[in-house]
Amino acid sequence: MPIRVLAPQLAAQIAAGEVVERPASVVKELVENGLDADATSISVEIMGGGLEMIRVVDNGCGIPAEEAELAFHRFATGKIASAEDLDCITTLGFRGEALPSIAAVSAVALLTRPPQEAVGTLVEVAEGQVIRSVPQGSPPGTSVSVRRLFQSVPARLKFLKSPAAEASRVQTMIQQFALAFPHVRFHLAIDGRAAFASSGGGNLRDACSTIYGPKTARALLEVATPGVSGEGAGSIGVYGLVSPPDMSRASRAYLHLFMNRRWIQSRTLAYALEEAYQGFLMERRHPLAVIHLTVPPREVDVNVHPAKLEVRFHQESEVFSALQRAVRSALVARAPVPTVRSGLAPSWPAPVPTEVGTLSLQGVPSQPSLSRSVSEEGGRSASTPGEVASSLRVLGQVQNLYIVAEGPGGVYLVDQHAAHERVLYERVRGEFRDRAPQVQGLLEPAVVELPPSLEEALAAHGEEWSRYGFDLETFGPHSYLLRALPVIFKDADPGETFMSILEEVGQGKGTGDWEEALASSIACHSAVRAGKSLTQEEMAHLLAQLSATDQPHTCPHGRPTMVHISASHLEREFGRR
């Protein structure tokens, strides 16, 4: 095929792909335009997941009649004028790509009027060509309607998710804006139904409350380190709300980072935030945080990615440590410190090491490696997998985590959590198979407030939840009543556990794998924790239950439930052989 220059329309469609990836990115570009026009109220309406129609209406400064058509030209922008301006960008947009890119892949109608002008302008564009530009009456501000999005780009259309999923992305996007601009009132309607509204009162905690519910919002801790004006390390300001140590989430989807009010994604900064929680949160638990960073515009390059989700800091390590310090100090100030009363200092001297205790382990050649040879050993001395477990005799517990037992050919260490997980997993799978989960009603239904992503995970399986033992009822926008739950949860906090499970199993389709993930998640959350001391009877009972399972040697995640130290290994270590 000979090399040719692409037709302008095709080139524009290709370029549009970088900026306009899906309906949510159209909404993002249009809302950012509204914000750059100093709007105090922005309302967004979408139909059919944004593919049928997107309308963004703001009350900002509008576009004068003579410039309205120009707005659809590529690289036309009112936000910067020279290359120097790129060094200190204070607006959200500046590339001059948004409107033309959107217009290249849809039919756009722009209706705008600056407050000081009497008549507004209507510009209609299809396939990148202006087809109509007439004066028309309009409220002050700008309204952009986008229809037939991606109809001319079937390839893009193919990669979009269901309208509900795209709508959920738009909602997440609007919520990010509400957090970034608490002083702007946002309103979102999906298919004619109000889906989200923020008050625009200027208070970040109120904005959080509209997304995560008042209970969560009230509990958040405030972080505030004002940056001094000027440049360098001290000029970085950190403001925001973070979850207290006793509140956590099972995924990182609750970190909202904003740099100069721009929503950004940064693994480095997310890591800085989690570092600040070091020692406060359990493994695989994550904080909920809304963080506003104020960085001098010269210190950062936002022109890295067309959608501007990634930014580059000139002094990344300083931003990193400013964030970490600010969050850490907010946490430490609020973390419970054990109170030592006066005159209460422990009076016992540290125990004097005895002769045996002082012997160092230097003489021991190398760390003895425990052979994980349970299955092989088991294969020799026992014919079915359950037999090793059934012949174990409990000796004790180590670190409130491992059960020490004597069994065929040596000593066995059993991970109590993993073992219990296996027992519960098979029980839950059995209940699912028989369609007979054991369900316990709750005295007081637990109110669960779900963010959109989890709501979608919930909706993906609708009525099925009751089949798995969760009795749910809609309680209001984004909130649900949990009336009953599988009986094995008894000791956990019902609401929190349910949310963790939703996060873990996600939206997976079909029943096979999803059901397995659900069973494994349920088992994990109700299994006995590491750190719980067990009585001799409890340990014996656990081993008996383990021996009755189909795969007693691994937990549902594939980790071993037990390791074996063979008698011959012990003999070698003690020099008996």
Partner: protein, 377 residues
């Protein structure tokens, strides 16, 4: 400090305060017992920082003083002594006590009394007086329903409400609720609302066995501690802070079916059903069948375990309303039946998925609400 007392009294006193000695702790001093002279008595105190118990032992005090001694060691040694006079003397260096009884003597190292955590004293507050046996019954009916896991700290406590001429105890763990109301010895002028740790009440229940005089409960104005006065014993406990669920609205106000049965028979049937329930996920199914044409109604209690077998018990019941079915966790059912004493009990239900109510017929003002298990029938 130099004093003498009877081995029997000292041993009893140590056993009493021993209930408050910390078992696992990072603060070793809380495993000690504080001995101090108090006029012509020996005062013994122990605390695990949540609960403190103080008692007095009659003694002949020759010289005043105070010291703390490891509780376990002292108690074990005193228990091994013959029932005779014990002479106790403080030794300054190393700090400790010298004990002598008949022909046995011992020296036990201790620590300075100054290092012992201060036992909170409650000087003023709202006071209520309750008959000890009434209180003991009330605690036994309620305390087992409190939560044992710390996921919701307020539920590990029992809500104590005192107002007018009555007191109310309420315990709940998210799946069941027990509420007992009883009379006060004399009316109170000011109301008391407090959440007392269930463990404190369990210890109190033990101490109440041989009490005859009214028990005095005093809550500090700051609502952070409760002081319980018994004859010769004082308990001070931290209160749990937080909001207890509004339990009154969790008690169903009406029912579709009410079955009155003999407690002993119900209890026996539930116990035998629980044997089979053990392997079948702990479910006991109850079926209430109204009598026809003057015949007595029935309650059928069943349980089954897939591979083991099943059982069925039938008891007579006076039934109001329609036939009803409901399933309970066998532990919840047997526990509530075992704390009730005798006579008849009523089971009130509406649907298989709404709460069941168990209460005595006549006599006590006691209500127990249990959430059912949702099962296939």
């Amino acid at each position: 400090m130099r004093l003498s007392c009877l081995q029997e009294n000292l041993s009893r006193g140590l056993a009493l305060v021993g209930r408050a000695v910390a078992t696992r702790t990072t603060l070793p001093i809380t495993q000690h017992v504080l001995m101090e002279t108090d006029q012509s008595r020996l005062k013994l105190s122990a605390t695990n920082l949540e609960l403190a118990i103080t008692t007095w032992v009659g003694a002949k005090v020759e010289q005043e003083g105070a010291v703390t001694i490891p509780a376990r060691l002292l108690t074990d040694f005193v228990n091994s002594l013959p029932n005779e006079r014990v002479d106790v003397e403080l030794t300054p260096r190393p700090i400790g006590v010298h004990l002598q009884c008949a022909r046995f003597e011992a020296h036990i190292n201790g620590a300075d009394a100054e290092e012992f955590p201060p036992i909170p004293t409650v000087q003023e507050g709202i006071t209520a007086r309750i008959d000890p046996q009434v209180l003991r019954t009330a605690i036994s009916r309620v305390v087992f329903a409190a939560a044992t896991e710390e996921t919701r700290p307020v539920l590990t406590g029992v809500k104590v409400e005192i107002s007018g001429q009555r007191f109310t105890l309420a315990g709940a763990d998210g799946f069941r609720l027990a509420v007992y109301r009883g009379p006060l010895v004399e009316p109170v002028t000011e109301e008391i609302h407090a959440i007392v740790p269930a463990r404190t009440l369990s210890e109190l229940q033990r101490l109440l066995v041989d009490q005859e005089e009214p028990v005095e409960l005093v809550v500090t104005p700051s609502k952070s501690q409760i002081l319980i006065h018994l004859k010769g014993v004082e308990m001070v406990s931290q209160l749990i802070q937080g909001t207890f669920p509004n339990y009154a609205q969790l008690i169903p106000q009406s029912f579709g079916t009410r079955a009155v049965v003999d407690l002993q028979e119900f209890s026996r049937a539930a116990r035998s059903a629980s044997i089979f329930a053990r392997d079948g996920g702990g479910i006991i199914r109850l079926q209430v069948i109204p009598g026809v044409e003057g015949m007595a109604g029935k309650m059928v209690i069943t349980s089954r375990a897939e591979e083991t077998g099943d059982n069925e018990g039938k008891i007579d019941a006076r039934v109001e309303g329609d036939e009803a079915k409901i399933a309970f966790s066998s532990r919840y059912l047997t526990e509530v039946l075992s704390v009730m004493e005798r006579g008849e009990v009523a089971l009130e239900t509406t649907t298989p998925s709404s709460p069941g109510v168990i209460k005595p017929v006549g006599g006590e003002d006691y209500v127990h609400v249990v959430m059912p298990m949702f099962v296939q029938w």
